[in-house]
């Protein structure tokens, strides 16, 4: 996960509290999405950024997961995400992110 985004996650979490935070991912690849998810729950696994060794335990979801999709107006979701649903490997992405969330998230799982 980009180093500056990691810092923003840290700053927002200290401002609002981890229990009031959810991180929403939108990346196109399962592996990269899993790494981003792990970064905001368990700490930066590449040890490159501010979240190295810091486990915030935040709730993290990918926009293609049904928990998220069901929150949207279907017409809006179709307009914004409908095309990408046909393109992305949805099952792999959901698999990666859910696995990370189940294991490492402490809040909003």
């Amino acid at each position: 996960m980009d180093l500056e985004i990691q810092q923003r996650v840290i700053d927002l979490t200290s401002k609002f509290g981890a229990e009031n935070m959810i991180v929403m991912l939108g990346g196109a690849e399962a592996e990269a999405s899993g790494l981003s998810a792990e970064t905001v729950c368990a700490g930066d696994p590449t040890f490159a950024g501010p979240l190295a060794g810091i486990a915030l335990g935040l709730g993290v979801y990918h926009v293609v997961e049904s928990e998220v999709k069901n929150e949207f107006d279907p017409a809006v979701y179709d307009e914004q995400c409908g095309m990408m649903e046909m393109v992305l490997d949805i099952d792999s992405i959901i698999g990666e992110v859910k696995t990370v969330r189940d294991e490492y998230s402490k809040y909003n799982k």
Binding site: E79, M83, M86
Partner: protein, 509 residues
Amino acid sequence: MSFPVIKKATYILVNTPDMIIHNGTTQTLEKETNPDSEYLKEIVKHLRSFEDVVGYAPNQTYIGGMTPEELSEIKRPWNASKVENAKRFAEFGEIMPQDEFYGLIKVSDVFDLVLLEKDFTEVVRGKFTSHPVLNIKVDALKAGEELSVIESFVKSGAEGLFMDGKLVGCIKKAHEFDKNLTSHIMLENLSVKASGVLALMHLVKNSGINVNEVEYLIECSEEAVGDMNQRGGGNIAKACGEIAGIKGATGTDMRGFCAGPSHALVTASALVKSGIYKNVIVFAGGATAKLGMNGKDHIKKGLPILEDCLGGFAVLISENDGVSPVMRTDVVGRHTIGHGAAPQAVIEALVSEPLARVGMKITDVDKYAPEMQTPDITEPAGAGDVPTQNYKMIGALAVKSGQLDRKELPNFVTAHGYPGYAPTQGHIPSGVPIIGHGINHIMSGKLNNFMIIGKGSLFLGRMTNLFDGVSILIEKNSGVIEEPSGISKEEIKNMIAEEMKNFADSMLK
């Protein structure tokens, strides 16, 4: 309507192994933040030889040594095999080794900032003598310097130029205090200049055009040329044209991040179609900063450093000749400020909307050319196969608009797209790599059209979060050059005179 045509395209790669280590930002940043890192020690063991770079199938495809169709036949990953009898010179250009490139940088320098060691200079001079376009630059190399002189400049801040780890030259800062004329910036700008010059010189030769008939140059890389008072003043286009000997031209720089080349193609087409200029060249050299950008991921996965080349290209746009493929200036897509950043909105703006305006369907375009990065480079870095993702998105949009059956989507991807074969040099892979092959295939009847799609990530400059892109369709020439319609005053006068004579005759009867 007489469309402008696209006559020729050239492509060059420059293999720069030492520049990866000394000038690629992933490496220079690592040196600054973690100077004892394992990565910096490991990287020297993962550099490909020039022979391997020439034998790498995507590189051969880029310079026209093989077609994208032939590339698709080769099993992936392509870095696991070598192309038999691969040559450094091919139909569209060449793959240049690092030593010759340092010579080209020297020749491109008009402020005595570049010094090359004297024995090294003679080696390069010998190579220039047998080079098809640089043989005229043999004397411009001038005499080389003593190594001790170069070492002392490097000690006081000049950027070193290295071959296999040995110092062979340097690039000095252009000003004692100006932060925009540092040796680092001069190296980056001279590198984009030299690689741009090489692409230009190949284009002038390959197109057969009378060099004095080129009137305008648009350079579309992503570098900024200027000093502390005007950081991006620009016009490296004209600077490159000077070295390439294009005496009848002026030019300008057009910037749009990765979408730069597409913006430049549309603009060049407009200049020619309007009659302002008859021949415009769109070109760009490569970025040393991007060398080895994903090096850490490549080494982690046991791969060589695959981002070991600078890229460059040059394209000639001219008046309609009745033969060359036309630029359909009536099928131009643009991603507007109001469109929004959702992938669907972007693809609609760049693909379906411009096609719909002329009654075309998404399936009416034979080949799409979006970002054409080599997947060997991007997949190990977690970014997937970018061209394929783009073809899937375009196909998905066709499905959503009822132009394509859902189950045809996998076929659409292979039928309407080529595998990626360009280096991750930002503007370089963005649409333009297809042009050389596209022109050949249209001329041979294999393709009827192709669409170039350029997309830019503007947020990188921290001025906007907006996305950007433009696209244009290129199509077979119908062969009919329309004459200007309308009747001249002379014809009208003659018609009136004729009628008055007839009237007078009838009066006399």
